[in-house]
């Protein structure tokens, strides 16, 4: 579904990704874990065209994405929910969702998907007319995920959906991620600091360290890997 080959990305003189390769199988959840500054967000941004890559290749359903502008990549069916939520602060909840469906023309389908998002996050439904900038952090995260779903993607990339969110809500959000994956058959690439949960819900896992993939395996195996336990699972 999504295949990254030898991707190199830099910011000016800094090289943030030194040739990264990974695959996300259709219908699966893959996860990328790593410390702060390892290059996780950089990878997602390069895949979705928000920043340019130096070299390598990103194939989505067999099509090369590198070199295409971000807004055209969304049109191909790959959605990105960026780190730090980034909802449109001055638009209402409902307008934010509508912007997620910006490229779609099917009014009825859009309304149906909006209701699906509202069913999934009833909190958003209650606050549909509220200005997004005044939502709590957790609500904004729900909105960011919902908004990304509104483009009806076949593959969804989520950048730290648990960032800054209370543990109770984190569990809910992860449940929803699994639900999206099962019910909609959506392929998901998940970037997380919360390695515990991420490795639990995903099938394939990758560990990134200073711009390089240092480990990759089935998530079950990764959870038992001493190195992963030591560095990312808090030693238990």
């Amino acid at each position: 579904m999504l295949e990254v080959r030898d991707l190199q990305v830099g910011y000016g003189a800094i090289t943030a990704l030194h040739g990264i390769s990974l695959r996300v199988e259709k219908g699966s959840i893959a996860t990328l874990i790593g410390a702060n500054g390892a290059g996780k967000s950089t990878m997602l941004r390069a895949i979705s065209g928000l920043i340019p890559a130096r070299s390598g290749s990103v194939l989505f359903e067999g099509r090369e994405l590198l070199g295409q502008p971000a807004h055209e990549i969304v049109a191909l069916g790959l959605a990105h929910s960026p780190e730090g939520r980034m909802v449109f602060a001055n638009l209402s909840v409902e307008e934010n969702l509508r912007m997620g469906a910006y490229l779609r023309k099917d009014g009825a389908g859009i309304a149906k998907d909006r209701d699906y998002v509202f069913d999934m996050f009833p909190r958003l439904k209650e606050r549909r007319a509220q200005t997004a900038g005044t939502l709590s952090g957790g609500e904004q995260q729900m909105l960011a995920i919902g908004r990304a779903l509104m483009s009806r993607p076949r593959c969804l990339m989520l950048d730290e959906p648990s960032l800054g969110i209370a543990p109770m809500l984190v569990a809910t959000i992860f449940e929803k991620i699994v639900e999206i994956n099962r019910e909609l058959g959506l392929t998901i690439l998940l970037v997380e600091q919360n390695a515990n949960l991420a490795l639990e819900v995903s099938q394939r896992g990758y560990v990134i360290e200073t711009g390089r993939i240092i480990l990759e395996d089935e998530c079950k195996a990764l959870r038992d890997n001493p190195q992963v336990r030591e560095s990312y699972l808090g030693g238990h």
Binding site: S48, G49, L50, P69, A70, H71, E72, V74, A75, A79, H80, S81, P82, M86, V87, F88, A89, N90, L91, S92, E95, R98, M99, G100, Y102, L103, T131, G133, R147, A148, S151
Partner: protein, 316 residues
């Protein structure tokens, strides 16, 4: 176009447009009864509303910072005036309104083209940098006219037909308000606000920020150009000095005072700032000082603008 209009917000705008046009027609019919001097001030207020509301699309809704409105206005003023000077005298009076409308439109389109040229650097620049570039661009336009004998060089053009009346000035103002509101309240137009809020997130939604920024410049410049044409046919003589950067700053002040991204506020501010210097004539030579003090006071009392920067990007 359908996509532009299929939004509840534009229904409100349509009502306002209708109401406004009726009002304009009524006032026009009775304009003979209004003191000529005050009428002139009102006509000028309409021109300023067009200028401020169109700049608000660029600076308020799309969150860019343009100081180029004086330049766009100059393009429209010169083109429209040149056209009516060339073709006006030979024309039977019945066709004059047609020529005037055509000249205003040409002026608007010339300005829109200039807007396209400035919009392109806006893709890479923001904030203060963009302000400097647009300022410089406006000055270049002015200097070009200053050195073109065809446009009267430093003396400018005079003997322009006095065709701008209450009807023309306020009809154009109303259409500008309508177009800007219909635009930003449409599903397509919510993109302007999205780009303003967060460009990266907007791209991630499939919105092309470049297109929106350039569109804002082109549409904004178009109406500034039309306003320039009205201005020329109101003042009857134009020269390059009349379009220097102070002109742009006047319009920026109207937008800031009215509240960025708040069309109703900007309309009120444009009218108020046109009337104010006239109302202050009693202060004679201290007039401009009182005027400036009033603006400073207003900004201190209401830093968000008269009506505030509406959190919804201007619900009207």
């Amino acid at each position: 176009m359908e996509k532009l209009m299929n939004n509840g917000g534009s229904n409100g705008a349509k009502r306002w447009l209708l109401l406004g046009l009726v009002l304009v027609a009524v006032v026009s019919a009775f304009s003979g009864m209004i003191n000529r001097y005050y009428l002139g001030v009102l006509v000028e207020a309409g021109v300023n509303v067009t200028l401020a509301v169109s700049l608000n699309l660029i600076n308020g809704y799309t969150g860019q910072f343009s100081l180029g409105h004086g330049g766009f206005m100059a393009v429209g003023a010169y083109l429209a005036a040149k056209l009516t000077l060339l073709f006006g005298p030979a024309l039977p009076p019945a066709l004059q309104p047609v020529l005037f409308a055509g000249a205003l439109l040409c002026g608007g389109m010339g300005a829109a083209l200039a807007g396209l040229l400035v919009g392109v650097p806006s893709l890479r620049l923001r904030g203060d940098y963009l302000a400097v570039v647009t300022l410089a661009f406006g000055e270049i336009i002015r200097v070009v006219f200053q050195n073109s004998p065809a446009f009267g060089a430093a003396t400018g053009l005079s003997g322009i037909a006095p065709w701008t009346n209450f009807f023309w000035s306020w009809s154009v103002a109303l259409v500008t308000v309508y177009v800007v509101l219909a635009l930003v309240h449409s599903t397509y137009g919510r993109g302007f606000l999205a780009v303003n809020d967060d460009e990266i997130a907007a791209s991630a939604m499939g919105i092309n920020p470049v297109r929106y920024k350039v569109t804002a410049f082109v549409v904004g410049a178009f109406f500034a150009g039309v306003a320039g044409g009205l201005f020329a046919h109101l003042k009857r003589a134009i020269n390059p000095e009349g379009f220097n950067f102070m002109r742009s700053i006047d319009v920026v002040v109207m937008v800031i005072l009215g509240g960025m991204g708040n069309t109703a506020g900007v309309v009120v501010a444009a009218v108020l700032l046109t009337l104010l210097p006239e109302l202050l004539r009693g202060f004679s030579e201290y007039r401009m000082i009182v005027y400036s003090l009033l603006i400073i006071t207003l900004m201190l009392l209401r830093p968000q603008g008269l009506f505030g920067r509406s959190s919804k990007g201007g619900r009207l």
